[in-house]
């Protein structure tokens, strides 16, 4: 199927349109709130919340017998929220650190969840329960009604995020300063974490509990590479989340037996990889080029200064010198010829006869400028 056909079916095909809308919603909301989780070094909280949500899904089904997404999401939300509060309470009231508390709560809740899921599968109408999609996610079963539910939860979460933007920024940057000004930072913390719970349950059905944490961490990590502004980072993170969500979910619903969660995660991983390589300032390629340019400038500076020193020793600025003399002075003798060629191109050195070089008037000016800079920094 060509790209054009995919785009066409995005507009015309009911299933694909629904899937795309749903996964865009989950990408936006988990990307936006994930940015805060990543900045607060709480990336693993996302993992814990999604895993602790699983027993909530199973219990909601067992208690109500309903498979309505809203019912299951409420169950997931309550369980995820209780799990998170348990983590916070353990950290506050004991000497156990956050990572251990997360690990414990995650394992206990997920274990209960798996037991309940197995129990549900064995009940008579197990096949119809369809709860297994909460493990690895399934996009192709999304219906308009589900998208409305997801959209409403996501919308409320984003509005609250916008309203309390200032408070959340304060929480993420300097919680104690916030407390000193009288803000109840613990309540703000619980509010932000509740929004994260909401973001995660929006994506559970599509991405699955096992890989949902990737939608919290990866878009934010990629967005951080591109910007130094919090607002822009949150917007970019939401966009990356939506991009990965749509492409992953559409790919998986167009292909037989391609699980949605893993496909979405592969898509967001590609975005992360590209960001790590090519983002300006922070990307690996940028840093590599920057380092290369810096080394070259350093080599040019040192040859310029060596030529100036040689000229001073001979008392005449016009006296030419062989590359051998420069090589003996240089910290990187192998690069001298190449550097001379580069300086020649700039018109800062000139070859008076084969194998002999001297500074031009411009070169002398540049060398003296470097010399002054060195003395200032010394």
């Amino acid at each position: 199927m060509s790209l054009f056909e995919v785009l066409q079916s995005l507009i015309s095909d009911y299933t694909i349109r629904t899937v795309a809308l749903g996964s865009a919603t989950l990408g936006i909301v988990s990307g936006a709130l994930g940015a805060f989780a990543v900045l607060r070094r709480q990336s693993l909280l996302g993992d814990a919340i999604s895993h602790t949500a699983l027993p909530g899904v199973a219990l909601a089904f067992l208690l109500t017998g309903s498979r309505l997404p809203l019912t299951l999401m409420i169950g997931a939300g309550i369980a995820g929220w209780i799990g998170t509060l348990a983590v916070m309470a353990i950290v506050r009231r004991s000497r156990i650190k956050q990572d251990s508390a997360l690990g414990m709560v995650l394992a206990v809740f997920f274990g209960i969840g798996l037991v309940l899921m197995t129990y549900v599968q064995r009940t008579p109408d197990a096949g119809k329960a369809g709860l297994d999609k909460f493990l690895f996610g399934q996009a192709s079963t999304l219906m308009t009604r589900d998208v409305w539910t997801m959209g409403s939860i996501a919308g409320v979460a984003l509005i609250v995020l916008f309203l309390f933007w200032k408070e959340f920024k304060l929480l993420a940057f300097d919680q104690e300063f916030g407390t000193s000004m009288g803000f109840p930072m613990r309540i703000i913390d619980i509010l932000l974490t509740t929004l994260l719970v909401a973001a995660i349950i929006v994506g559970l059905q599509t991405v699955g509990v096992v890989l949902m944490s990737a939608m919290v961490v990866a878009p934010a990590a990629a967005a951080r590479q591109w910007t130094d502004r919090l607002g822009l980072m949150v917007v970019l993170s939401a966009l990356f989340g939506a991009l990965a969500g749509v492409s992953g979910a559409v790919l998986s619903s167009l292909t037989d037996r391609l699980p949605t969660g893993p496909t979405i995660v592969l898509c967001i991983s590609a975005v992360v990889l590209l960001s790590f390589l090519f983002a300006p300032n922070r990307g690996l390629v940028y840093n590599w080029l920057h380092g290369f340019r810096k080394r070259r400038n350093l080599a040019m500076d040192s040859v310029l200064l060596d030529l100036l020193e040689l000229a001073d020793q001979h008392g005449s600025r016009r006296h030419p010198h062989s590359p051998d003399a420069l090589r003996s002075m240089s910290g990187n003798p192998l690069a001298v010829d190449k550097t001379l060629a580069e300086l020649h191109q700039l018109g800062w050195v000139v070859r008076t006869e084969p194998g002999l070089w001297r500074l031009t008037a411009e070169g002398e000016l540049q060398a003296n400028r470097r010399l002054q800079e060195l003395e200032v920094t010394r």
Binding site: L170, S180, R229
Partner: protein, 256 residues
């Protein structure tokens, strides 16, 4: 100032703080009159930061009362400004200098409301005072240690407080920043504000401050520098571990 019911900016009574079983501060009584610059000195682990944090309600003391301008801390909170230790935040956070300074306005703004033009003007003005107005839009990860400290100071200035708590503002800063901080401290004092500074460098205490508190879990001494910054008090606070104290206490220009 008619809103202030007491002549003292800060009164601490019977303050005791313990992490788990070990007391970090024991039965502290402290009175800080209005309009002075006070240094809080003491060896590592003496509880200097803990003192500030428990007064500000960041730590829950085991016992004791704190009153600020004669009222409870909750009532007097708008009168209090805070400069935490520079290392307490992540300087790689995606934000700029002006944005950090504006956080000092959040307290008076209250919930949900965003900083407006008046707040921005105040922030720019405070940045000018610390010599950072040209760096207002700079990303905070690109600041030197001294510049980070000055940003925190500017953030406290826009709080427009009456009583300031500063936790080691001179820690690891360059000479220029130290000068800038001292100038601001003196300016704050001359406009009638009170500043309490956790300080490390005993040598500069007589030069920079007019009152001093010597702390080592207990409050060893507190009062005007000329009265309480004595060799005997220093020896009690530091336990004979600092050999050059006698010269400092005598007020001579001593080399360490």
């Amino acid at each position: 100032m008619n809103q202030t019911a007491s002549d003292n900016a800060l009164e601490v009574r019977d303050l005791t703080v313990a992490y788990h079983e070990k007391p970090v501060l024991w039965d502290i009584d402290l009175t800080v009159p209005k309009g002075i610059l006070m240094a809080v000195v003491g060896p590592n682990g003496a509880g200097k930061t803990t003192l500030i944090k428990s007064v500000l309600g960041l730590l829950k003391p085991a016992a004791g009362q704190v009153s600020i301008f004669g009222r409870s801390y909750e009532t007097s909170r708008p009168l209090v400004g805070y400069v935490p230790q520079r290392g307490s935040v992540d300087w790689d956070f995606p934000t700029c200098v002006l944005d950090v300074v504006l956080m000092g306005r959040y307290g008076s703004l209250g919930w949900i409301k965003r900083p407006g033009k008046a707040d921005r003007d105040l922030a720019v003005q405070a940045l000018g005072k610390v010599g950072m107005d040209k760096l207002a839009s700079r990303q905070i990860s690109q600041l030197s240690g001294g510049q980070q400290q000055r940003v925190f100071l500017a953030r406290a200035l826009v709080q427009q407080a009456e009583l300031y708590f500063m936790d080691e503002p001179f820690q690891g800063v360059d000479a220029k920043t130290e000068r800038a901080i001292i100038d601001i401290l003196k300016e704050l004092r001359s406009s009638g504000k009170t500043v309490l500074v956790v300080h490390h460098d005993l040598q500069t205490v007589p030069e920079y401050f007019d009152w001093v508190t010597l702390l080592n879990v207990r409050c060893i001494a507190s009062g005007p520098v000329t009265d309480v910054f004595t060799e005997q008090n220093l020896r009690t606070a530091y336990g004979g571990r600092v050999a050059f104290k006698s010269q400092i206490a005598a007020g001579t220009e001593a080399e360490p």
